[in-house]
Amino acid sequence: MQGSESEHEALRGRRYGKRAAELEQTAARWTDRGVMQGSESEHEALRGRRYGKRAAELEWRENMVESKKYCLEYEEYEEKGLEPDYVIEKILADPDFPGLKELIIGDWGAWEGSCQPIIDGIVERADTFSHIEKLFIGDMDYEECEVSWINQGDYSKLWAALPGLRELTIKGSQDLELGEISHDRLESLTIICGGLGSDVIASIQKAKLPALKKLLLYIGIEDYGFDGNADTIQKLLEEAAFPSLTYLGIVDSEMQDEIVPIVLDSKFMNQIETLDLSLGTLTDQGGTILLERLPSFSGVKKLDVHYHYLSDEMMKKLQELPMEVDVSEQEKAYEYKGETYYSAMLTE
């Protein structure tokens, strides 16, 4: 179809479809990643589904947009040579922006350039961005960039610039700096990466986040930036002070079994409701410890160990714990020339 009514219809449909799909995907993504919890995530998922159904039928109502993703598209960075700061221009030029609560930043040509111009753009226009409550910088997958190639940035100035921020999600750890973290309202901090540097972990360890309810950290592996060991995690949990924490996630580790007793020994076990040890190389060794010790923490309502190397028997035993248990995505170890290999979910 060229230059015809049908093309117009197709474009219009594409726009609606895109919006609907984005909303549903956003809801699903945040739900799947556990960024939202319980009724909130259900609410978002339902909202996405409802929009998906209605978008094809109804005229778009701009005031319903609360979450939006911005990125540089292929033509923009590969052919037009636009730089990451163009993302800020796109955001500011968007009439939906003033009504947004959630800002998602996708690919900015992240394998080549840092997102620093985007972070700086937000900091420099702090008042303009003050209504943003949820921020995700680096929302891209393997189709767009290797996670370990994402050039992140320095977030030191962001904490003061966005005092109303409640949720921050960062994907990628290369050149990631969090600086001195101090924020009174931040409730959720998630870092998704193939390897978390000990300098970043140190920043979190010293962070002043009195409202933090959820901490989700992908530990990853040495090849992609994790330069610590089990002691690094132990120190983090010993020294960090998050009085409001109810969700603790130490995930995507190839020493997941070692992490289990460290987490269970931490002070946070007496305050959290959700323990997330998913996406790693958890075997029956760690499963046995969870089985023995977790029932003594009566406040824990959910155990998430999805993506694991547990046996069928251990999965069954864990599911009998008096709490919600997610043991989905059972993995099989890879054997080669007499050696057995286990890998965490995100190690790229």
Binding site: M1, E78, D141, E144
Partner: protein, 347 residues
Amino acid sequence: MSAVVLLGSADTRRSVYLQRAAAETGISFTLMDWRKLPEGWPGREAQHQLFVKIDPPLWDSCRLGELGELTADYRRALAELEYFAGQRQTDFLNTPAAIAALLDKRTCKHMLKTAGLPVTEMLDGEFKEAGALLEGMKTRGWHQVFIKPVYGSGAAGVSALRIRQGGDRMALYTCAAMDATQGIVNTKRLRHLEDPGEILPLLEEILRLDCIVERWYAKAAYRDCCYDLRAVLQDGHMDYLLARLSKGPITNLQLNNRPLDIARLGLADTMPKVLEDICNRAMACFPGLRSAGIDLLLERDSLRPRIIEMNGQGDLIYQDIFHENRIYRHQAQMMKRWMQAEDGAVT
């Protein structure tokens, strides 16, 4: 007298489910096994009017180095069929020439592009070695590409290469691997390599297969998977449209990727019609083509459709045969209409 012949293989899903559809439609066909073709065409001496459907011959080799030879044999057989058809009254579901044209990904893509259709862009030129490919990518400004043997299906040898400008880092997703005794083989298991010392020698072997190089577009996503689409078009109608979800860049159902009903993607209601129009324009580029499987992607964010490739024998969709068997039922109807027309003409 009119007769329908399936040139294929016994006890395959293709022949079994077409047989079921034919029985439901009240027709029958003769199965001619590829292996018996050298012994002669059924009814060759008789004065039957024939309608022939050609299924692909069975290949079980995992050696990618044999792809070229196997395809050459197949193309020769198709050319012989085309010649034979010219000697007597024979109609085809898809003519041998049309099937052969779609086997060659390079020519097929050129024809589609010349016709103004949206396709995944190819890197101009032929790349026989890794250095030339990396230089070509740099010149074009592309940092990630797909490398596909010109002849091949089922993701055989298909690889996805990504480089960081400056070439200091690279990543390769591939099912190809070097085997000490068999050479380069299709493992049917997607691997992710990042060591240039491992990638570059493998890349050299892959490029020796005669490959096209296409831009790697970020495909549309559904939850934490990306997807592309397989459409099956027959006689101007889109009989099936299926999404193929993957957690890796290569979306092929033979790699155990997950199929998904397109209705769950949240696409605009207008999208199937847009895709059907594109597919019909693509099919019109190949005279003699009445049935094809067409792979399309939707670009991330813009959801702009592009044709990835076409297959003149891409009509086998498990999700269909195990449910409605819609595609083969339509083919059976096409055969029945042909028989009625032929028999009517005779009487």
